[in-house]
Each structure stands twice: as C-alpha cells, then as structure tokens.
Amino acid sequence: MMAMADIRGTLPAPARIAAGGPTTLRAGFIPLVDASILIAAAEFGFAQREGLTLDLVRDVSWANVRDRLAFRQFDIAHMLSPMPVASMLGLGSNPSPTITPFSLGRGGNAITLSARLFARMQEATGLSETASALDNARALATLLGVMREAGELPPTFGMTYPFSSHNYEFRYWLAAGGIDPDRDVKMVVVPPPLTSDALAAGAIDGFCVGAPWNMVASERGVGRIVAAKQDIWPSAPEKVIGLRPDWAQSHPDTVSRLIVALDAAARWCDRPENHDALAEILADSRYINAPVHIIRHVLSGEFSLDARGNRRVIDKYFVFHEGHANYPRPSKALWIYSQMIRWGQAGFSDAGARAAASAYRPDLYRAALPSSAMPQDEDVRIEGLSETDRFMDGFVFDPAHLKAYAEAFPVRSRLAQDRGVEDV
C-alpha cells in the first residue's frame, strides 16, 4: 500500500462517505496508456478517498464501450473524445446521449508507417532521418504519385474508429501533405492491439493509434514513427470520461466525487516520480498487458522511431493534467465537429454546432473543483493561436466561423463539398 502513502502528503482531506447516490461505479476501458487516470484512480486510492469504488471492466471495442454505456451496463466509460460529440449529433449506429465532464489528458497518439514504405519515401525524395512531420507527409505524397504512375495499388492505413482522434489526426496529417485520404489511400479500422501485427503481416502499410502501440511496432522494427500528435496539434483532444446525461443529472454528488478523484489521480500521473509505479500497474495483464519498459518510455516521451536506434524525445508527450488538460472545453468539441464536416460525416447547421458543444460539460467540472483549478480564458476560444499550440498547417480555428473553417481546407471530402448546409 505504498501507493496510499504516496498521496497522503498531497491530499490531507479525510475520506468522504458518499451521501446517497451510487458508490460503486462500473467503468469500461480499452487497454491504452491514456486510460491511466482511471486506472490510477482505482488502484492508488484516489477513488476510495472520495468514498467511491471503481469497478474497471476491460473491453475489446469502442462500439462495445458505447453500447454498454448506453445500455446501462457501464456507469462511466473511457471514450474517444469524438464519441460523445458523435452521439449528441446522432451519428453512428447507436447514438445514445453521452456527455463528458472530464478529459483524460492529452497526447499519446502517433502515426507509424511500415519500415518498407518509409524506406521507399526516403528513396523517392532523399528524406532525412530527422525530417519533420510535415516533410514526412509531403514525401509520402511524392511517393504516392510515383506509385500511381507505376500502376501500384494505393497503401492501406489503419485507424481505430470512424469517430476517433486517430481518424481526424491521420487525415489532418495526410491532407497537410496534400494527400486526399478518401481518394489517394485506403483507410480501414484496425483494433489497437492488432496494429503492430497487421503492419508486420503487410495487411496495412501504416496506422495512427494511441500508446503504446506505435512504440511496440517501432521497437519490433516493423514500423517507423513519422508524426506524433504534438506535431499535428499539441492540444488536440484525446480520450474523455463519458457519462449518460440522465445518470449525471440524477447523481450530481457522485459525479462531483468522481471528478475530484480523477483530478487527484491526473495530478499524480503527471509527476515523473510516480511513473515507475504507474508503468508497473499499466503493464499488468488486467490492464494493457504490454512490456513495462515500453510503457515507461511512453510515459517519459522517449521515442524509438525505428529499431535502428533513431530516437526522439518529445517533451510532454503524455500530459495527464498540466495546462488544464482535463478541462472539457467546448471549443474542442466544436473542432471535432469541424473535422466531421470536413470529412463528410456530418453536415453543418447551427443546431449541429449546439449539439456538438453540449457534449462537453465544463459546468460539471466547475461544480466539483475549486476555482483555482479553472482556466482563465473563454470556454469557447480560438484554437491554435498560441506559439506552443499551432496546427501543423498553420490554420487557426475560430469556432465563430466553423463552417468557413471546415470549407477552407484545400483537401477535404468531396462528399462534404456536395453536401453543403443541411440539418443533422
């Protein structure tokens, strides 16, 4: 119980006994490093301190997580940030109202191409080992031109779910390099734990997925990491905690306790001195079931780009709390909506924008935590303005002009271009 001793110093408040409301919460999760906050809250006493027991249930697909939350098998769930937005917009095959009061941090995603494809990019363009994410995307565009002329089939790229940060980040990176993800390549869904094997077997030529699966592929020598989320947009929303709005409304006290527990767990996860203990737990077969040294490297952002020893250290690759990473900012939900419009998943309407923004609930976050923990800027802010938070193509997202933003991208879905304005 070394873990309890660790937090005692930072959390002097005694354990609270929940007043009414459920105290045992069934929480669904997918084995990924970005489930850390949830796992740490359950394993290191943060939930217990708030009088809550988190019953963590590992699941195999995002569709299952969504359905089990909707069908009340889960009270809360580790979800992709676009999932509540899609649900509120009525997209997908089981759109049941879902909100998030808490983001599970930033970071963890990367794009990996097969070692073979990367070697061909180097051959075709003289691309250096230390090229930027944008240079890598442009080199891929050049190679795709060569392949097309030679009559070769376009490469197949894997991502995790149609409404995922991975889908939008992969597409953002491809499009920034001038590649049309719907025309120039083939996008398929591959479950995260299978990505490395699928790459090794040649079933896919690249993928965008969360940690630790990029590093698993690069250390095996089958893949080359060509972009990290930090390169695409550092504060792009990643995973969130999803809830049913009716459940949140009926149990406000439980929701507040949950947020307090997650907040404490997130602060704990951010501290490097806790990373050994965190990596140890995450590596366990109940959770991620991956080598502990890989998870340790992931937590410190030490990247093996390939198996030949090319390394890159990404500062703040995983941010669990710092910089208001847990704040469920509605402008992030609106950015997700802009990408859904860009790629033809949704049409634009004012009602759609309202529905998308309503998936992110800063009011619940504010109700649970002291004002000192709150960001000082607007809930709906212009994204990509700050020097340290640029989009890789230099675009700036002003939610007030969402439709114009989505339409201004030189590469976007032709479906979206035909679609124009419509109700969702």
Binding site: A63, G92, S93, P162, V189
Partner: protein, 195 residues
C-alpha cells in the same frame, strides 16, 4: 412478408458456436442465413447480401471495423446497433450477458427481429453451457487421473491393496473436509519431494 424472409448474417470466429446458431435459425424456418467466421472481405459481403440483421459476437474486436463500414455505406441503409426497441432493457441485458451484439436495419419492426435475437441469445447461452460442461468433464478426468496416481503411490509405498489405498484417500479427505482430488494431489506432490 413474414420474419422468416429476413436476410441474416452471422459473424462468429467460433465455428462451433456459429454452427449452433445456424442450426437454430434453420430450425426456426429461416432460409436466408449466411455464416462467416472471419471479417476479411466482409465489406463486399454486406454490400451484396444487404442483410436485415447482423449478429456478431460481442467479444469480437472487429465491431469497430463494422462501425466504420456502416459509415461508408450508410446511404444504402442505416443499421442500428442491438435492438429496435430500446425500452426492452431486460432483453438487452440478456443479450449482453450472453455475449450477443446485433445490428438491425433501421425501420424493421421489433416483432420481426425479436424472435431472431431471442434465439441467438439462447443459443449463445447453450454454447456457454456446453463449454462449461466440457471444462467440467475435463477437470473430472484430470481429478480421476490424479487419484489413480496417488493410489499407485500409496500401494507401492505402504504396501496397500487398491481398495485400501482408495479408502485411505477417501477417509483422509472426509477427515480434513477436502476433496479427494486435493488429498491425492498432496500425496503426489509429497511423493515427488520424498522420492
């Protein structure tokens, strides 16, 4: 059109369970049933088959791939996850517990779909029962083997007859309130240490 005219696609990596479901659907009179064991090439199959109902094992990680597929083909028809009638929570719980997930084409009446899903749920459960029984039978066999070995050890080391060795094991198990196989296991372990 009766519910028997519906086109049903069953995706199950477990060939035995798939066969059990297929049999159940045929017994119920369904004529348009397709069974696949892997998701390779599933996109084309769904396009040509245009199933009204898709039944897929809930533990199949490829459900996310299906979700992507429905996004691409949604202009044709919109498949709804699980159930037409969401208020029927008991039925949904039974399905999830059994490990069944399903997609149903939007607009299909629940009376037409429910018998199919009920059948899938009961067959999934029957299959789990079968697996449990098989596992029980296997462990019973293991237990018998270990008791035989313990008996042999006692006969050799203490010069007992087979009946006496058996009685000794049973009596010891009763005295210690343990299973005979547990006592037998201790005998085998102890013998391994001593010899």
């Amino acid at each position: 059109m009766s519910h028997l005219d519906l086109t049903i696609l069953v995706i199950d990596e477990n060939a035995v369970r798939a066969a059990i479901i297929e049999e159940g659907l045929h017994e119920a009179g369904h004529r348009h049933v397709t069974i696949v064991h892997e998701v390779m090439g599933i996109a084309r199959l769904i396009e040509t088959l245009a199933p009204d109902v898709i039944i897929i094992d809930i533990e199949n990680p490829n459900r996310d791939m299906m979700e992507h597929l429905f996004q691409l083909t949604r202009s044709v028809s919109r498949p709804i996850a699980m159930f037409v009638d969401r208020s029927d929570t008991a039925a949904i719980e039974a399905a999830v517990d059994a490990g069944v997930s399903a997609y149903v084409v939007d607009g299909l009446k629940k009376e037409r779909v429910k018998p199919i899903l009920d059948m899938a749920v009961s067959r999934f459960n029957a299959f789990s029962r079968l697996q449990r029984e098989l596992a029980d039978a296997r462990s019973a066999l293991e237990e018998r083997k270990i008791i035989e070995r313990a008996k042999g050890i006692l006969m050799k080391m203490r010069g007992l007859s087979e009946d006496q060795a058996f009685t000794l094991l049973r009596q010891t198990a009763m005295n210690e309130k343990k299973k005979m196989s547990e006592i037998a296991q201790s005998v085998v372990t102890a013998a391994g240490l001593l010899m």
